[in-house]
Amino acid sequence: MYDVIIIGGGIVGSATAYYLSQYDLKLVMLEAFNDVANGTTKANSAVIHAGYDPKPGSLMAKYNVEGSRLTRELAKKLDFPYVNDGSLVLAFSEAEVETLKELYQRGLANGVEDMKLLNYEETKAIEPAISDNVHGALYAGTSAVVSPWEYCLALAETAVRNGMELKLNNEVTAIRKNEDETFTVTTVKGEYQGRYIINAAGIYADKVHEMIGEKEFTITPVRGQYFLLDKSQFTKAHHTLFQCPSERGKGVAVTPTVHGNLLVGPDATRVDDEDLNTTADILAYVKETAALSVQGIDYRENIRNFSGLRARSDRGDFIIEESRSVPNFFNLAGMASPALSSAAAIGLTAKDWVLSKQAYPKKEHYVDSRRKIRFKKLTDEEKNELIKKDPAYGRIICRCETITEGEIRETFRGPIPPQSIDAVKRRTNAGMGRCQGGFCGERVANILKQELGLDYTEILQDREGTVILEKKAKEDYENV
């Protein structure tokens, strides 16, 4: 019997897990895929927004500003990449300059600090690559970029280190209430009984809620497509560059990433279910729209395209509340932007809700820190010391990102060992670089094979089913 069952191992579920694992309660997280951070969390703009965008009084406004502050603290404590690059919203006409003023006022109402309205010259001075049609900008100094999956891993790993049970590959199929008011959650793998349920199922949050409750909201996935460009394009933007929200939508962002790349996107297209395809027409639109902000991005230096989904609710705001039809069931739904920025604050609220139900005591021994070895960032002496202790740190597996075998092996001893090549990438950055795993993919596959005791044909690129090798050579094929 668990005290709390969290459904969903994305950033919102993991933030909740992090705060709840500080209390003396039995906690389990059920994740449908084979890793945390494997849905919306891994594919978005990776921006921690300052908070001038949401309407004052909305949940989005409240949680964004608070979440942004908490993220900065957590990055230090739990050691995930966070860069406070600041953002600029660019105006392309005098009418849009008026919009900037509105955003500035909204920011003040939401409690955003360190904002400034800039004219063209002031904007050009701090962001030289902007196009000539920029009329002015709203600068927000608290805006930042993170590695969203490393942020999520940091939270979930800390929760696991402090006793949370993580059940991967456990897609929820049914939920029922028992006579004693507890819940039984059925997954494809088994049954889990618990007192309280936190629903953080992302784009599936409505379906999960309706497994036991009435229809209270609808989630629509809204897809966005991106270009991720080589480090050679990093200097095209020093800040996260947004466009004014207009009838065109929220515009396309151009932003540096914490890993030293340049990210361009997204569009916003409603899709059915989990459609993560990229399409030629939208990618062309993204390029064209981004060119309004910055000129001279060399798309021959593109290293990857991807799509992400926003879990947009029909209420136009976050849904952070106990289910209206099912007591002891807490919905964290409608987690569209700025959900990544807000996640920590949302997790805190979910934790408070649990404590309001039952006053669990704080744990006496709680490990509230996390350190990762990043070989590339060490001094010469530190590198040598590490290699002397373990020669695997002297063997480079990913040459683009300078990731050592030692760093990769270490993740298998961590709280959430990787189950796929991309899971290794999310933990170490191996395969993130310009050759996109062309060189290291096979080497990482070999390490996975050894560490997990798998056959080559069982090695996955990412989720279940993404096998990379079909057959051993010299085995006969039938019916090809």
Partner: protein, 417 residues
């Protein structure tokens, strides 16, 4: 302090090491990131190597073996499982291996890091994002080094040589290669590979076609192939759908010059390799480059020959001071996309200057013309056929260049019928 540090032990680095030793250099260090010497040759188990250099047909590993054998009898120091992380302009090489992280110096350095494959991202192929899309070289490594096939029903995008070789290899292993799709109106691979790897196995080659959609999750199950117009735009309603589980990409190679950049070496945006002199010296004094790090070659034999040139020049650099103060730049015109070298020292120490180049279209009977600053032809070479898929070479007699100034222009002109 080493006389010479060579970075990379593929065909370029191996050939450079042997040559530099034979030229009398005393302290030579050869650095390789893999555990075995040979680089990409080790996964090229097909034959066709060595026809020019050794006058016989060898496999990739055998070709590498010839050099490795020779190295055994030398005092060339070999560091394998070692990655170079940085090179500075003052010839300091920072490297890491299981015995530690260190900085070493060489009087001369030869860059022989080779190239990498272009990926799906480079040409932004849209579609689903599950597994089943590989560069041809990655699939080759899984096939020949690990003994596993990446899939059973294959569509190959691009007609680069690795893709063609893999079409044959996968077929021989029992997979079905449904098509090879090339966006250009000509093949980008060697004619002999088109014949021996596609035609001999009845694999269709679709010129002026490209993949416009990849479908299927978690694994590829279909690709859509469309015809393109002369501007490479897909033509509506020309789609063909192939049921396949794998896409192999053979869409070009990029010289790997991150280290060259760290040393402050000037790169040529056309080749994406260092700009070099006729002796393969880069813009940084005493740093030479050869092989696919300079320009993408078709044949390992040519790589080895270019490396020999670099090694001889590096040996001369270490052994004596250079006394050349004149220089000529090599410019291109018409359909010539680049030349290597881009600069020539004067006076020349060799009797012939070898110049290699590529064109951006196919020529029938034509002539390669080298003109001087005034536009007068310095020399002229007749050719029966030139295709972008094959690296072209000319040798200019040094004495023709003695009185030339500033620059030469290399162009291809159609021969009058």
């Amino acid at each position: 302090m080493y006389d010479l540090i060579i970075i990379g032990a593929g065909p370029a680095g191996l050939s450079a090491a042997v040559t530099a030793y034979e030229a009398g250099l005393e302290k030579i260090l050869l650095i390789e990131r893999d555990s075995e010497l040979g680089g990409i040759l080790n996964q090229c188990i097909h034959n066709g190597f060595g026809l020019h250099l050794f006058k016989e047909e060898l496999t990739g590993p055998e070709f590498a073996g010839r050099f490795i054998e020779k190295l055994r009898d030398t005092n060339v120091e070999v560091m394998s499982d070692t990655m170079v992380l940085d090179i500075s302009e003052d010839h300091t090489v920072s490297l890491v291996n299981s015995s530690g992280y260190q900085h070493i110096k060489g009087k001369a350095i030869i860059l022989a890091m080779g190239c990498r494959e272009r990926t799906r991202g480079a040409i932004a192929i849209p579609g689903s994002r599950g597994s089943g899309v590989y560069t041809a070289g990655t699939a080759q490594r899984y096939m020949n080094m690990d003994g596993y096939l990446v899939g059973k029903r294959i569509v190959i995008l691009g007609s680069g040589d690795i893709g063609l070789i893999m079409a044959r290899r996968m077929t021989l292993e029992g997979a079905k290669v449904l098509a090879c799709v090339e966006i250009n109106p000509y093949s980008s691979g060697l004619q002999r590979n088109i014949k021996q790897c596609l035609e001999d196995f009845d694999i269709p080659l679709y010129l002026s076609h490209t993949i416009t959609d990849i479908r299927g999750y978690p694994r590829v199950n279909q690709v859509v192939v469309s015809k393109v117009d002369e501007k490479f735009r897909p033509i509506a309603r020309s789609e063909m759908v192939f049921d396949c589980d794998t896409v192999l990409l053979s869409i070009g190679l990029i010289p790997e010059n991150e280290l060259s950049k760290s040393a402050g070496i000037v790169l040529d945006p056309r080749t994406k390799g260092p700009r070099v002199w006729e002796n393969m010296e880069t813009s940084v004094d005493g740093i030479f480059a050869c092989g696919n790090v300079v320009q993408v070659h078709d044949l390992a034999d040519n790589v080895a020959a270019e490396a020999k040139k670099a090694a001889l020049a590096a040996a001369r650099y270490v052994q004596q001071n250079r006394q050349q103060d004149g220089e000529l730049e090599l410019k291109t015109a018409g359909n010539v996309t680049y030349t290597v070298p881009q600069h020539i020292h004067l006076p020349l120490s060799e009797k012939l200057v070898e110049v290699s180049f590529r064109t951006n279209r196919v020529f029938g009977k034509c002539a390669v013309v080298v003109a001087d600053r005034e536009g007068n032809a310095v020399c002229r070479y007749s050719r029966e056929y030139i295709t972008p898929g094959e690296l072209q070479k000319i040798s200019i007699p040094a004495k023709l260049l003695e009185d030339k100034e500033e620059y030469l222009t290399v162009k291809v002109v159609e021969e009058q019928k």
